[in-house]
Amino acid sequence: MRLDLVPRGHRSPVVEALSPALAFLAAVLVGGVAVSLLGVSPAAAFSVYFIAPLSELWSLQEIAIKAAPLALIATGLAFCYRANLWNIGAEGQFVVGGLAGGMVAIATHGSTGATFWILPAMLAAGTLAGIAYAMIPALLRVKLGVSEILTSLMLVYVAELLLDYMARGPLRDPAGFNFPQSVTFDDAARLPSLMEGDTLHAGVLVTLAAVGLAVVVLGRSLFGFEMRVVGASPRAARFAGFGAERLTLAAFAISGGAAGLAGIVEVAGRIGQLQPTISPGYGFTAIIVAFLGRLSPVGILVAALVIALTTIGGEAAQIDLRLPLDLTRAFQGLLLGLVLGADVLTRFKVRLVPGAAR
């Protein structure tokens, strides 16, 4: 018995558009079974996971704030993955961006006079730090042929330990009773709130701008075309005169820059100071988001919102229903697997070939 994948001659655009939705439905069904095995009513769990977070203003804001960094990082990663480059160290670039931008805020802490430049300088420093940090695996790959998968991943731990050291050591607030955290940033170093007194901050706009820019660059520019060709047909890309080295550096710069920017947006927006840890794993979750969104910027935006929803819903389920947080993680992984599986099914027919056993 053997499974054959036969390419479908004709691919229905309707089915292709529906396939992620069907995958989501399937994930909910499987999740429901798991929930009921844990002794909780699936209907109650569904309500807590997916309905409640969408029905209150504060949780809608939380979803937007969680989705923003995910979508921003994943949009940058889409450039890399389209070009068949595997930057899986966005987490590290995120941390380094937050650290570098935060250092600008700490260095200018308490300064008087013109302060309008501080926030732009922080964002620029965070972006540049993310780019510089991503250049390490990129240059190692281009110059020495080192696998970018390993180096980018390992540099995540370097970045996390560096931030940990800085927050506990040199950048610790001298008047902070030895708590491992920096001074609280001045207002001039914080992203403005979008709604008076609420948590939604301007970082969401940064993400929307980045996604819009990515739509145009990836779909309409020669540069985006080069990225797509390099990933899809490397030999045709060489024939087109698209330099693989240049594109490798560019893809890493874009993804590193986006992750670094997301890092400083998180620090200047939600957190407001440097702490030993500033990310609940955004850089890794963004990899899932990038593929859930099929590496297209708009799809990524939707995927980021879905993942943020399940995360917020998962936290609520932990409190209200005493469901473990691991269930949420398992659900997110299940969702990715099913979406990718549904993609395969839209492109191929599965045929069982009996016999022919070896």
Binding site: G9, R220, L222, F225, R238, F239, G241, A356
Partner: protein
């Protein structure tokens, strides 16, 4: 009609294998439409048709690789089910593929043992290989690694693999496409021998001369249907081609011999190290082409054609700028787009994945090679309307058949995609055009169209370099011919002053011909062949 001289042929009136009412649909596309085919023992049966006519589909159904949507396959009158190649092999069907499936780093014997499965010791296998070599003139050294073998020797491995299973029907897909004329002669001897033993052969080829020489019956496919059956020996190559394409094929009209223009492309002692373990380095290659001239470069695959093409296109840069001169200006240091801006254009051998990105649309594939030489971008952004307009011009000018307004390049048939990639470059009005295997695996009508376009472009004053393994093609369109062998290029000779035989000898490396080619036919075999 029964087959000629086979011993076993007359005994059984039922055909050895029959395929009746075969229909194969892929979605909405019907690749085979009620095809009937009968193959008798002791005949070489030709299957003719353009690319996309449905030959490969039918072949795969007969070999159990595809299941037909409708229709049956019979063996001596009994309906059989071919669920897998193993079923087919059990019934005595063997196949020699066009593209060899050999492991380069293993020896001949190891490659054969791979498909023989368990139960046959190394020594026994070596004895059987030797015995087959003795019987059919298929001489192979079992201990040689495959990477050191010529294409002809590699094909011999495939044939031996097939014969070890003592097949009653051997399917051969374009078997001579990679062979020198000498190697092809040896193959024909083997095929005649197999036929005389009462085996059936299904012979798929574009080379009509071979079909006329070897085959007593031919079935002709067009657009998935059987459009005729004939005795190819009673037909001319022209009439066979006409049946295949459904219209009279135009011979390439030679352009009026214009006075050659100035020199446009020159290579001056170009040398490049081999880029990889099994690649070929280039040694001291010099050539010159004037405007209005077509230079043909003959040679067997793997003698440096890919490396020469890359050095000409700029995908590999030469160490010295002066090694490549475009219109008299050093260009060896330039990349591919800089050379395009100086009026050069290139068509690589591999359509899918090199000349075109198969997953991308035709308009995007226009951008691929023309973004530097056509107004397809503005401020770094694609002008999609302009790209679509240029794609449409290529499609209209070169009669590219496609489904849908802007389909992915990979959905076109080989001949149509080749017309597209050649047309894309010719519409750039290049002063220099370098083409690698312009009509490889392309049907007769498309090939004639492409060759005519090359001749016309030369007549308009361009210099054209054609790298090809197809000697007929070179003798049809080239003004002069040089031979690439083991990374060195023989001096170019005008077409009138050379012959296919002379070029064939150079292709085999005249002064040091491998013993397998010169001495492969023992006297007894040679006598049998005549």
């Amino acid at each position: 009609m029964t087959a000629g001289t086979g011993r076993a042929a007359a005994a059984d009136p039922r055909p050895l294998f029959g395929a009746y009412g075969i229909v194969k649909r892929f979605g909405d596309f019907t690749a085979n439409d009620h095809i009937d085919l009968e193959i008798r023992a002791g005949e070489i049966h030709a299957l003719l048709g353009e690319n996309g006519a449905g030959k490969s589909t039918l072949m795969k159904i007969l070999y159990g690789l595809l299941a037909p949507t409708e229709g049956v396959v019979t063996h001596r009158g009994d309906v059989v089910r071919l669920g897998s190649p193993e079923d087919a092999r059990r019934l005595g069907i063997g196949m020699v593929f066009q593209h060899f499936s050999l492991c380069e780093n293993l020896t001949v014997a190891e490659n054969i043992a791979l498909v023989m499965g368990r139960g046959l010791g190394r020594a026994a296998l070596a004895r059987r290989i030797a015995a087959l070599g003795e019987t059919y003139g298929l001489h192979l050294d079992p201990e040689r690694p495959v990477w050191s073998l010529s294409a002809g020797e590699r094909q011999r491995i495939e044939i031996v693999r097939c014969l070890l299973q003592d097949p009653k029907l051997v399917i051969l897909d374009e078997p001579t496409s990679v062979l020198t004329p000498g190697e092809a002669e040896l193959l024909f001897t083997v095929l005649e021998r197999l036929r005389a033993e009462g085996r059936a052969l299904l012979y798929i080829s574009h080379r009509l001369d071979e079909v006329r020489r070897l085959c007593a019956r031919a079935t002709i496919l067009r657009a998935g249907k059987v459009v005729g059956a004939c005795d190819p020996r009673a037909e001319s190559a022209g009439s066979l081609a006409a049946m295949m394409v459904g219209a009279q094929v135009c011979e390439v009209a030679p352009a009026a011999p214009a006075a050659p223009g100035g020199e446009r492309l020159r290579l001056d002692r170009l040398s490049l190290p081999a880029p990889g373990l099994h690649a070929t380095g280039l040694r001291d290659i010099s050539l010159a082409i004037r405007g209005g001239e077509i230079l043909g470069i003959a040679g067997i695959a793997g003698n440096g054609q890919a490396e020469l093409f890359a050095a000409l296109s700029g995908e590999t840069r030469a160490g010295q700028a002066g090694a490549v001169l475009i219109d008299g200006v050093p260009a060896g240091h330039l990349g591919v787009n800089a050379r395009r801006r100086r009026g050069a254009a290139f068509v690589p051998e591999e359509r899918n994945g090199h000349a075109a990105a198969p997953g991308m649309s035709l308009s995007e594939n226009v951008v691929l090679s023309r973004h530097a030489t056509a107004p397809l971008t503005r401020f770094g952004f694609l002008r999609r309307g302009a790209a679509q307009a240029l794609a449409d011009r290529v499609i209209a000018t070169f009669d590219v058949r496609k489904a849908g307004p802007d389909p992915a390049a990979g959905t076109l048939s080989g001949g149509n995609l080749q017309k597209f990639v050649v047309g894309r470059e010719i519409l750039a009005n290049p002063g220099i055009l370098v083409v690698d295997q312009p009509t490889w695996g392309v049907d007769a009508a498309a090939a004639a169209r492409i060759r005519q376009a090359l001749v016309d472009l030369a007549a308009a004053g361009s210099a054209i370099l054609v790298i090809s393994q197809d000697l007929d093609e070179l003798f049809e369109i080239a003004d002069s011919i040089a031979v690439l062998h083991a990374g060195t290029l023989s001096p170019a000779v005008t077409r009138a002053r050379t012959t296919r035989e002379a070029v064939g000898l150079l292709m085999g490396g005249a002064e040091d011909m491998p013993p397998a080619v010169t001495g492969a036919v023992p006297p007894s075999e040679a006598a049998h062949a005549t």
